[in-house]
């Protein structure tokens, strides 16, 4: 449970103290637009933009009653401000059942030729969902392909990326290139520039993780139809951590597409969205066993797609389909998922979701089925949540 140990209490105490010291008038106050973006804040003194958000999840598994949970899933606290005319900063702390951590902490600055540099610890701009915090996902949980191929859909790096915005208004074009010291994800935990002591058994990644992304947005003349399309590529990721101690992920490539129908004079709307990911890994020369030979390559791939219909500002329903193939040493594992959900947004500051999910896992010729019903409540304390396309 949340705050179940002393360390968590201590972290919370330090965070609250920081907030109180930095912006004593801020809590419960409102926006005072200082140019710092996605958060609305707070401080009467004007120097600090301050966010506070909390997410509570309740989950009920049909297939395993003993695993049912009803707990406070996550508490997120964000601080952000313009440091001066040249730099702005964001720090996001996340407190979950297993502890507290700095989820993101980065600086942003604008450079000539419509470029922007962002550096620090950050969710990578890979695909559509990766740099969205999990409580803002369109469904209660993340898509299977992100869970399986990118360690839960939150590829986090310590490093920098630069974005260039072409002088094209419709469609737009944004190009991003990033370089990172390391990725903070389970499958790469042991590999970054400081290789482990078992380098002999592993593949030389020849450098640090690097990222490329191209993204384009198009809007119809009447602005009823909106499309966002992107392709992403990340290389030099690290060791594959799914029973392949001697295989390394060479790259992950992805393509994402998002469509929204937004008629004017009407609060209804349709969203169609999806991502396809492909991950390639390579066995070390010392590998032996299973269906593979040393130096062999293996591929994992999958996608998700969903449709959501919003009846108005308050109610929406949707369906998501998942399909992912994960390579194993003795045959692939195939996961498919069907997810139905509905959400109610009483105001802009709270959202309740109910979701039914049916997952089939085909592994060694046997199908394992997992049905679950999930409930989620998301509550924003203090700041106005941002609306992003």
């Amino acid at each position: 449970m949340l705050f179940s140990n002393k360390q968590n209490y201590l972290t919370l105490f330090v965070l609250i103290l920081t907030v109180l010291l930095l912006g004593p008038q801020s809590i419960g106050a409102q926006s005072m637009d200082r140019g710092f973006g996605r958060r609305t804040e707070t401080a009467a003194t004007g120097d600090l933009a301050f966010d506070l958000g909390a997410v509570f999840n309740a989950e009920y598994l049909l297939s395993d009653e003993e695993a049912n949970e009803f707990d406070a899933h996550e508490l997120e606290i964000s601080l952000g401000a313009n440091i001066d005319p040249y730099f702005s900063a964001v720090a996001t702390f996340e407190i979950e059942d297993h502890g507290a951590e700095l989820e993101e902490g980065f600086l942003t600055t604008q450079l000539p030729y419509k470029t922007q540099l962002q550096f620090g610890r950050q969710l990578l701009p890979f695909g559509y969902l990766n740099d969205i915090h999990s409580h803002d996902y369109p469904q209660v949980d993340g898509p299977l392909v992100l869970e399986q191929l990118t360690d839960g859909g939150d590829l986090t790096g310590e490093g920098a990326h630069i974005e260039w915005m072409a002088p094209l208004m419709n469609p737009t074009l944004t190009l991003t290139a990033g370089a990172y010291e390391k990725l903070d994800n389970d499958f790469s935990a042991e590999i970054h520039v400081n290789h482990s002591n078992h380098d002999d058994d592993k593949i030389d990644l020849e450098g640090r993780p690097g990222l490329l992304r191209a993204e384009s947005f198009w809007q119809s003349q009447d602005r009823n139809h909106n499309i966002l399309a992107g392709v992403s590529y990340i290389s030099g990721i690290g060791e594959r951590d799914q029973g392949f101690d001697t295989a390394s992920i060479q790259y992950i490539g992805g393509a994402d597409l998002r469509y929204r129908y937004t008629p004017a004079g009407d609060m209804r709307g349709l969203t169609l969205s999806g991502e396809y990911l492909l991950r390639e890994s390579e066995f070390s020369k010392e590998y032996s066993g299973g269906d593979y030979e040393p130096g062999d390559k293996m591929t994992d791939a999958g996608f998700y797609t969903y449709a959501q219909w919003d009846f108005d500002n308050y109610w929406g329903v949707g369906y998501r389909y998942d399909n992912t193939d994960v390579a194993q040493s003795d045959g692939d594992k195939d996961l498919t998922g069907n997810t139905l959900y509905g959400e109610w947004r009483p105001t802009e500051f709270s959202r309740l979701r109910l979701q039914y999910q049916d997952i089939d896992i085909l592994d060694h010729g046997e199908v394992e089925n997992d049905d679950r019903i999930m409930m989620q409540g998301t509550f924003f304390l203090g700041w106005h949540p941002p609306h992003e396309f």
Partner: protein, 308 residues
């Protein structure tokens, strides 16, 4: 040789395409991006031929509920002047757009940034902020452009930025401002006279969108279909409104914005036996070209009901 020609041709085509895709405002003297059509039309009136204006919202779009799109970020990145309504009307999306814009000139503090609400005499400023009161705005009701008199201050703010970004034409902008102020005074005076016999008339609103205009014309808001700002009405609330105002001869009409639930509003109007009026929320609706025409359009529509 052939390959070289093909390459040159491809580059030329790419350049042409790029130029073709550039917005027309990139070639104008001043490129202005405004969040609402009200502010966009004001920028056109004040800037005249020296500005090219792009608005981020459409006339029948609730400016509170938009998504920040990459298109908006690009538009502001290449703009000379950016005008927002302020008072938290665009709080859900403009902060994100400004955070990501590659243009320091149009970020708060920059010479091309305009918070048009600066200096506005706001109404409905809450005594204390509490989300239990609904989606309230700490600076008060943000829909001041519905009142041409209150919009005069917004016009001054816009002209200040136009002058800063284009000093050569400062004289023109100041003259246009004087004309704007004069026209606003004349229009409002004319309609205040027309509404004089109806001063104190009561009506029910859906959302607090037209309150500046109503106050200027001496019309009183007696209740609202939204129980609290931004909160959907319940069946009980609707029934309560009908119970409370059935037979109340002081209440003359129900007014609403086009994007709200018409069925709910009609239920109330029919329940208390008064007309339901759908007014124009922003410039561009019903071919209104500027905030003066918008004011005229809405006032005439109400007058027609009151004089029946």
């Amino acid at each position: 040789m052939l390959r070289s020609k093909t390459l040159t041709g491809a580059i030329g085509l790419l350049l042409l395409l790029t130029l073709g895709l550039l917005p027309s405002q990139a070639l104008a003297e001043l490129s202005v991006v405004a969040t609402t059509t009200d502010l966009g039309s004001m920028a056109e009136q004040l800037g005249g031929e020296h500005v090219s204006v792009y608005t981020l919202t459409r006339p029948l779009e609730d400016a509170h509920y938009l998504d920040a799109t990459p298109g908006m970020i690009t538009r502001t990145s290449y703009a000379d002047v950016f005008i927002q309504n302020g008072m938290e009307l665009e709080v859900g999306w403009i902060p994100e757009v400004l955070r990501q814009t590659r243009n320091r000139d149009v970020r708060p503090g920059g010479p091309g940034y305009v918070d048009a609400s600066r200096g506005i005499q706001a109404i409905q400023v809450p005594d204390e902020m509490d989300r239990a009161q609904g989606d309230v705005h700490k600076d008060g009701n943000p829909h001041y452009t519905l009142d041409p008199i209150e919009a005069q201050q917004a016009a001054r703010n816009i002209v200040e930025a136009l002058e800063a970004q284009d000093p050569e034409n400062a004289e023109v902008y100041r003259e246009n401002l004087e004309e704007f102020i004069e026209e606003a005074e004349e229009l409002v005076e004319q309609y205040q006279e027309k509404f004089e016999p109806h001063r104190g008339t009561e009506l029910i609103i859906y959302h607090e969108h037209f309150d500046y205009m109503l106050q200027r014309l001496g019309i009183e808001v007696t209740d609202s279909i939204e129980p609290l700002p931004g909160v959907a009405p319940s069946a009980r609330h609707i029934a309560g409104l009908i119970d409370s105002y059935s037979g109340d001869e002081n209440v003359k009409m129900v007014i609403m914005e086009p994007w709200h639930n018409e069925r709910m509003a009609r239920q109330v109007a029919e329940g208390i036996d008064v007309p339901l009026l759908q007014l124009c929320p922003a410039v561009g609706c019903e071919d209104t070209a500027n905030i003066f025409e918008l004011f005229e359009h809405n006032a005439d529509k109400m007058l027609q009901v009151l004089e029946e």
